[in-house]
Amino acid sequence: MKTWMASAVVIVVLAAGAWLKAGSANSAAQAQGSQTSRPVQLVPAGEKQVGSPGEKGATYYALEAQTTRLTTRFRDGHVAVTERGLVGDVHSTLRDLAGNDRAKLRLNRIDGGHDMVNYEPTEGSRFQAVSDPTLVKPTLDWAARQVYGLVKDGADNLVWDGAIMQRKNAPRRDVDIDVDTVETNWANGLTARLSRSTYPRRQISPGRFVEGPVMISELSQYGAPVGTGVYFEKDRVFAYTVPGFTAGAVVIGADELKANYGGWPFTPDTTWLNLQMIATYHFKTLIAKQGSVSARICEPSRPGLLAQFFAPTVYANEAGCDDLHWLDGSILRDCCDDHDRCYAKSGCDANTWWQWWRSWSCDRCNMAVVGCFFARAGLDDRCITRQGCAG
């Protein structure tokens, strides 16, 4: 009898346990079902989905993620050096005109969308905060501007003002106006250097005249210049040339973007311009390697990584006219870039000016640049590049 009783108790307990487990699994399934039962957003065929106005697209952030180092120089002499670590962590150090550290900002990814922001000024109190993924996508550029804003405006009573943390009730700071130069170091030895200037009136395509303040991005790969982009801020026109890939200058304004985007979807800034030049060169190189475009004409040979390691100074060069950068905004600029490409192709250095017996190729480079300067000195300064001249 006792055996029967014990067996019955065991059966009842097991049955109760099984019933409870089934119930909980069922409720979990129901709960999960309620979370995933949102309707799928269908997009009609042919309809173009664009990002939110004022925001940069996913391609921008994908390209930005490959930036290894960003050096931002502000008009007041402060310099922010921002680097990305191997695991995606971001470190930004702001130094003043004298080179003294003013503050450090660190970003550490803590989950799919949130970052821990650590701010450590040399003077004042430090803090750490969690980023808000609905407001900001932390990039190297964001870190540089954020640390500059915190140093300039203070870091107490912080609130989110758009994508920027700043003191409560403080006026919004337009950091892009404060930016003087930006150097973007990217993968594959690509470096884009941005500077500002003011260009006189010029015609860059038939019937299109531009003038005024410009942002100039000079792209180089392993020290050899490979392209130039200019954004005319007043006329909202972007013009670029990548010799060997583009036949002359490509000009993009609000009219060209109207069909797909209704105009510029955002205001181009200093960092965007550098990334745009890098992206243009990167994608055109990929297409050329896949053989879907015609053979590259006039494309200089790029110094190999090994050669660059052993003889970096041979190719070390600045985009534009070395020690004559005052003329970088003029039509003489092309003479210098052609000369730099010629030097990179032939492995020349400045010594070949007097050691003329060393290389006939280098002599040709030197004679060509002198001839170019003489030929261009009498021309009207109205084109972004020689190829882009209209008429």
């Binding site: 005109l97 130069t181 500077s195 070395d322 950068h325 005052w326 400045a350």
Partner: protein, 127 residues
């Protein structure tokens, strides 16, 4: 040493020192006054071009009034320019840089010293 030779050497030294002083100021204030892009050098920035040539013009104007040689002053400044360029990082187009810089310096110095000598000649206190 004749008075003419002394005036030439004075002009040469003043031109040399003027360029060196202007370059030193540019190095010290490059980021703040001259934009900060590229290396400190008077032909790397429009503002630096104006500053250096402005300094040379004022000095050559005074030199002209004092009857020092404008050509010697230009030679001194050009010598300093050449030295600064070669002691710096160098340039892949240095002959063009030297030619352009030399022309600007010569034109500014000669214009300044000529104006100075004219002022001196027309001055009621001259003679």
């Amino acid at each position: 040493m004749t008075q003419n030779a002394a005036a030439r050497w004075f002009g040469f030294a003043v031109g040399l020192l003027t360029f060196v002083a202007a370059h030193a100021i540019e190095v010290a204030k490059w980021a703040v006054w001259f934009g900060g892009a590229h290396a400190p050098w008077f032909l790397n920035s429009g503002r630096a071009v104006i500053f250096t040539l402005g300094c040379l013009f004022v000095v050559s104007l005074i030199a002209g009034i004092l009857r020092w040689s404008g050509a010697a002053l230009a030679t001194g400044a050009a010598t300093a320019m050449t030295a600064v360029l070669f002691f710096g990082e160098g340039s892949t187009i240095f002959p063009i840089v030297l030619a352009a810089g030399g022309l600007l310096i010569a034109a500014t110095s000669l214009l300044g010293s000529w104006l100075g000598s004219e002022i001196s000649r027309l001055s009621p206190h001259s003679q």
